[in-house]
C-alpha cells in the first residue's frame, strides 16, 4: 500500500502509548518489517481453528457455505490467528521470484509431462450419467406416480367422507324428508323446493308412512342428545323433527326453552313460528298463529333479507288476513329469492293474493254503489 496515501500521523504520538503502538504497528507493516511472530500470533485464538476444508468458502471453492456471516467469521479468525493467516497466505500469495524459478524447472511444468498426464487422466473412469439418470428418472417417475396416486386417493377419500357426512347430516336428512313430502305451506331451513301435498297431512295424528330420512335423522339426533342432552343445536333439530312428525307440543316446549335460554336467532324464531303456526292451523288456535306471526316479525328484524323468513312471514300474514302487508312482504321476498322454483311459488302466491284483493275491491265497489251498505263494510282488510 502506498505510504503517501496514509493519513497524517500525529506528531506527538510518543507521549501516548496507545498512539505509539498504533504507529509502530503501521510503520512496521509499511516498511515490510512485520511484527515478530509472537505479535502476529493470536491474542484471542482459543485453539478452535477451522478445519482445512472449512476455509474453502473464503477461497471461493465452496458456494454452499459462502454466506456473509461464515465469511466474516473466517476472516476474523484469520486476522487473529497467526497460524491460520500463514496458511491462507501460503495458499493465496503470488509466487516469489525464487519460487517462480523453482517452479519453472519442475518436470511437471513441461508440456510433455502435462500431455502424458492428461492422456492418463482422460482415461480415468467417468461417472455414467445416462444409465443412472434413466434409472433415477424411472425411479423418480414411479415415486411420483405412486405419490400422486396416494395423494389423489387420500383427497378423494377425504372429499367423499366430508360429502357423505354432509349428505347424511341430520339437518340434511330433515330437509330432504320435508322436500320428499311437504305437508304444510311454511318452509323449512335448508329444504329444497317441493309442492305442498295437503293430502298427506295428518294433522297431529300418527304417521303411517314416516320418511326413512326422517327416521334416520331422528335416530342420529337422539344419539347426539344422549351424549349432550342440553346441546341447543341438537335440541333445535329435534324440535324440527317433531314439527315434521306433527308433534307440535314438544317442539314448542323445546323451542320456547331455547329462545328463553339461548341467544335468539332467526332460525330459532322460524322453527318456533312453524311449530306454533302448524299447531294453530291444526287446532284452530288464533293465539298460536298470532304468536307465529310475532316470531316471524322478530326473525324479519334479525334477517330482513332472508327469503325463507319472508316467505313464511308472508304466508302467515296472509293467513292472519293482513293482505296488504303480505303483498308487501311477497314483493320483498321476490327481490331476495334465488331458487327459481321457490321464486315461481312466490309469484304464484302473490298473484293469487292480488287477485283476491282485486276481487275484494270490485266487491267493495259494488257494495259502495248500493245505497244500504253499511260504512263498516268499507273497512279495509289489512
Amino acid at each position: 500500500m502506498n505510504n503517501d496515501s496514509n493519513p497524517k500521523r500525529p506528531s506527538d504520538s510518543s507521549a501516548d502509548p496507545l498512539a505509539r503502538a498504533l504507529e509502530e504497528l503501521m510503520e512496521n507493516r509499511l516498511s515490510q518489517c512485520l511484527a515478530p511472530e509472537w505479535q502476529r500470533t493470536s491474542v484471542a485464538n482459543n485453539g478452535q481453528c477451522p478445519k482445512p476444508d472449512e476455509w474453502l468458502p473464503l477461497l471461493g471453492g465452496d458456494p454452499r457455505a459462502a454466506d456473509d456471516a461464515n465469511l466474516d467469521a473466517l476472516l476474523a479468525h484469520a486476522a487473529e490467528c497467526g497460524k491460520c493467516a500463514a496458511h491462507l497466505r501460503m495458499l493465496t500469495a503470488e509466487p516469489s521470484e525464487q519460487e517462480a524459478t523453482e517452479l519453472a524447472v519442475l518436470v511437471s511444468a513441461s508440456h510433455e509431462w502435462q500431455r502424458k498426464l492428461a492422456a492418463d487422466l482422460a482415461r480415468t473412469p467417468i461417472h455414467k450419467l445416462r444409465p443412472m439418470g434413466i434409472d433415477r428418472l424411472r425411479a423418480s417417475k414411479i415415486y411420483l406416480w405412486t405419490g400422486s396416486a396416494m395423494a389423489a386417493s387420500l383427497m378423494i377419500g377425504a372429499v367423499s367422507f366430508f360429502w357423505w357426512q354432509r349428505a347424511n347430516s341430520p339437518e340434511r336428512l330433515l330437509a330432504e324428508a320435508y322436500s320428499q313430502s311437504r305437508t304444510y305451506d311454511l318452509r323449512m331451513p335448508g329444504a329444497g323446493f317441493a309442492e305442498v301435498n295437503h293430502e298427506t297431512h295428518m294433522r297431529g295424528g300418527g304417521t303411517v308412512h314416516e320418511s326413512s330420512r326422517l327416521l334416520d335423522a331422528r335416530a342420529r339426533i337422539e344419539r347426539q342428545l344422549e351424549n349432550a342432552p342440553e346441546d341447543p343445536h341438537w335440541l333445535e333439530l329435534e324440535a324440527r323433527a317433531d314439527i315434521q312428525e306433527e308433534k307440535f307440543d314438544p317442539a314448542i316446549e323445546i323451542l320456547d326453552h331455547l329462545l328463553a335460554t339461548e341467544p335468539v336467532t332467526a332460525g330459532l324464531l322460524v322453527d318456533d313460528a312453524s311449530a306454533y303456526f302448524e299447531r294453530g292451523s291444526s287446532t284452530g288456535s288464533e293465539s298460536d298463529r298470532v304468536t307465529a306471526l310475532d316470531n316471524l316479525r322478530r326473525a324479519d328484524e334479525l334477517a330482513p333479507d332472508d327469503p325463507l323468513v319472508l316467505f313464511n312471514e308472508a304466508v302467515v300474514m296472509e293467513d292472519r288476513g293482513q293482505a296488504m302487508n303480505a303483498v308487501e312482504t311477497w314483493n320483498r321476498y321476490l327481490k331476495f329469492e334465488r331458487d327459481p322454483r321457490w321464486l315461481a311459488e312466490g309469484h304464484s302466491r302473490l298473484q293469487a293474493l292480488e287477485e283476491k284483493l282485486n276481487q275484494l275491491k270490485t266487491h267493495q265497489g259494488r257494495m259502495g254503489q248500493h245505497p244500504g251498505t253499511s260504512p263498516a263494510m268499507h273497512t279495509p282488510v289489512a
Partner: protein, 217 residues
C-alpha cells in the same frame, strides 16, 4: 484459440465428463502452476529442502485426487465467481500435499497415517508464557486498539476490522487479501478500506488523548 476463451471453471466442469486428452492438457496447463506452488510451499513447511521430484509426485497426486471416485470433486464443483475453481484447487492441493508428508513420515516411523487438523500443522506457535514482557505490554495495547475497532460497528464493520489485522498484524498484502474470494474486494478496494480504518482509528486515539490527557502521559 478456443481454449483461451474457456474459463477454468468451464474447463473443470468439462473435464468432469471428458475423455478428450486435449481438453485435459489445457486443464493441466492452466492448473499445474498453482498446484505446483502449493505443493512446493507445503513441502517447505514439512522439510527444509524439498526435492523437485517430491513436488512433481505431489502435483501428480493432486490431479489423480481430482479423478478419484469417477471424478467426484470435478463433478460436484459448483462455480462461484470467476475462476473459483482455483480456490478449490488450492484447498485440494494443500490437503493432498499434507497427506503426502504425513504418509511418508508415518511410514518412516512405521505407524498409521494420522489426519491432523490445520491448527496442528506447521511449526508450533509461541504460547503466551514465552511472550517477553515488552511483548505483553504490546499485546495489551493492540487489544485496546482492537477494542476501539469493535466499538463502532456502524463505522467499522467486522470485515473491515478483519482486513485491518490481516494486513497490519498478519502481514498479508492487499493483493493476497483481495485473493480471498470471501473478502469481496479488489486490491484497490482493500487499500481503500485500510486507509479508511487507519484514519478512523487514529482519530479515535487522538480523541481519547485529548479527552483524557492525564491518562495518555
Amino acid at each position: 484459440m478456443e481454449e483461451l476463451r474457456t474459463s477454468v471453471n468451464d474447463l473443470a466442469k468439462a473435464c468432469a465428463r471428458s475423455a478428450d486428452a486435449a481438453e485435459w492438457a489445457e486443464f493441466l496447463r492452466r492448473c499445474t502452476p498453482l498446484a505446483s506452488l502449493v505443493a512446493l510451499r507445503v513441502s517447505r513447511s514439512w522439510v527444509s529442502f524439498s526435492s523437485p521430484a517430491t513436488v512433481n509426485d505431489i502435483v501428480q497426486e493432486i490431479f489423480m485426487k481430482l479423478c478419484e471416485q469417477e471424478r467426484r470433486i470435478l463433478r460436484e464443483f459448483e462455480p462461484r465467481g470467476e475462476d473459483s475453481f482455483l480456490g478449490l484447487l488450492r484447498m485440494v492441493s494443500a490437503s493432498v500435499a499434507n497427506d503426502y508428508f504425513r504418509r511418508t513420515h508415518s511410514a518412516k516411523r512405521g505407524g498409521k497415517v494420522v489426519t491432523m487438523a490445520l491448527a496442528e500443522e506447521g511449526a508450533p506457535g509461541p504460547s503466551a508464557s514465552v511472550l517477553p514482557t515488552a511483548g505483553l505490554e504490546q499485546q495489551i495495547l493492540l487489544a485496546q486498539l482492537d477494542q476501539k475497532l469493535r466499538s463502532a460497528p456502524e463505522v467499522i464493520c467486522e470485515r473491515d476490522r478483519a482486513l485491518f489485522w490481516l494486513y497490519y498484524r498478519q502481514g498479508l498484502t492487499a493483493e493476497e487479501i483481495a485473493g480471498l474470494a470471501g473478502a469481496g474486494l479488489t486490491p484497490k478496494g482493500v487499500e481503500s478500506a485500510l486507509r479508511r480504518v487507519a484514519k478512523w482509528l487514529r482519530g479515535e486515539v487522538e480523541r481519547q488523548k485529548s479527552e483524557n490527557p492525564a491518562e495518555s502521559g
